[in-house]
Symmetry: C2
Subunit: 219 residues, 2 copies
């Protein structure tokens, strides 16, 4: 059996990060949960270790980023720049999966894209060109991802390097979701903006976690 | 039977405009097809009149805009500003349904939102605050809309005035599509940007017109 790469989840104690960590661990990936508070990360890892077969440990965000072969970043937009700067020296040559959506509370139902175009482009700017930024997981409801249920939602994956995107699409698949390459990193703006649409639809139409599906016969 | 309002389709000889005009005419709406070339508009109207029961006529864009109770604008981004300026004096107090997607050839697979945020916000800026701009029809494949087939795609409708959005959602329904209010006009950026994602997916996955569906139990 092919050995699966260790995946670090920076911000892995948050709703989205914890849910991704859990699904990947269930699929057999070794996981390092990162948090600004290493103690919280270790507690979260211990909770998951009790129910899961794979190696899960907790660490500070930079330590987790150092140990992961692939590093998923799942932090609120407000902290994105700071946390990326904190892990920057630990991620050279790696694939960073940025999941940041530029929501600016209190107006989370309003699209407010940053001047850089997207949170993904901010990440690439901060991390520099020795790091391959891929963005994904913008539109999937975290509270559904935290369960074992099938989720009626596609995950769009954006990035300028096709092979890296293919590896991230494998991670998405391991989370039991369909991942589709949505084009270049700049295109991440569309999925990031779409999250505000989904929040707005959740409120207007009383939906418990709306999602998106790409329709058509994909080959 | 309630009389349906006359709908003008500015740019109604183009792919998207002609398809919308045809579906609305089939649903019983009186239609005025507008074009920069009134002769082409009259020819298009005559072709449709041959197969449809309702009143369809052709006119110049400004004349069509004057005659419509609701005015749909379906023109390429390159001509949007000019054509909106041309019809501006004819649309005071009306609902304008802007369908513009800010595609900038040749890079149509790349999200390139304008500095104003979205084409919809450009429209509002040009038309002024006596006009209610609603945006819609960004993601539905025109070549499918041009047929009688069921289309597996939702239409997101954006606007700051809920009642106007509800009227546009009625038009979407008349086109035999599900229309959903996606929030404020600024949110149009998400659907506009999404069109580049769909074009990219069409190419990468050999799809004949990918679309989007909002998932979840909408009430």
């Amino acid at each position: 059996m092919l050995e699966l790469p260790a995946v670090a989840v920076v911000g892995g104690t948050g709703h989205l990060g914890a849910a991704i960590a859990r699904r990947l661990a269930l699929a057999g990936y070794p996981i390092i949960i990162g948090s600004r508070d290493p103690e919280r990360a270790r507690e979260a890892a211990a909770r998951l270790s009790g129910i899961l077969p794979t190696a899960i440990r907790g660490a500070s965000n930079p330590q987790a980023a150092r140990e992961g072969a692939i590093v998923i970043v799942a932090v609120p937009f407000t902290f994105q720049a700071q946390i990326l700067a904190d892990i920057r020296s630990s991620v050279g040559g790696k694939i960073i999966v940025d999941t940041t959506v530029p929501l600016m509370p209190p107006k989370v139902m309003r699209v407010q894209l940053p001047p850089e175009g997207s949170a993904a482009q901010i990440a690439q700017k901060i991390l520099g060109d020795k790091v391959t930024v891929v963005s994904a997981f913008h539109n999937v409801p975290a509270h559904k991802l935290a369960t074992d249920q099938e989720i009626d939602c596609d995950v769009l994956v954006f990035g300028d390097d096709k092979e890296s995107c293919a590896r991230v699409i494998d991670l998405v698949k391991a989370c039991r979701l369909r991942g589709l390459h949505g084009g270049s990193l700049a295109n991440s703006a569309a999925a990031e903006a779409f999250t505000s649409i989904l929040i707005s639809i959740n409120k207007q139409y009383s939906v418990d976690g709306a999602g998106i599906r790409i329709t058509g016969e994909l080959k």
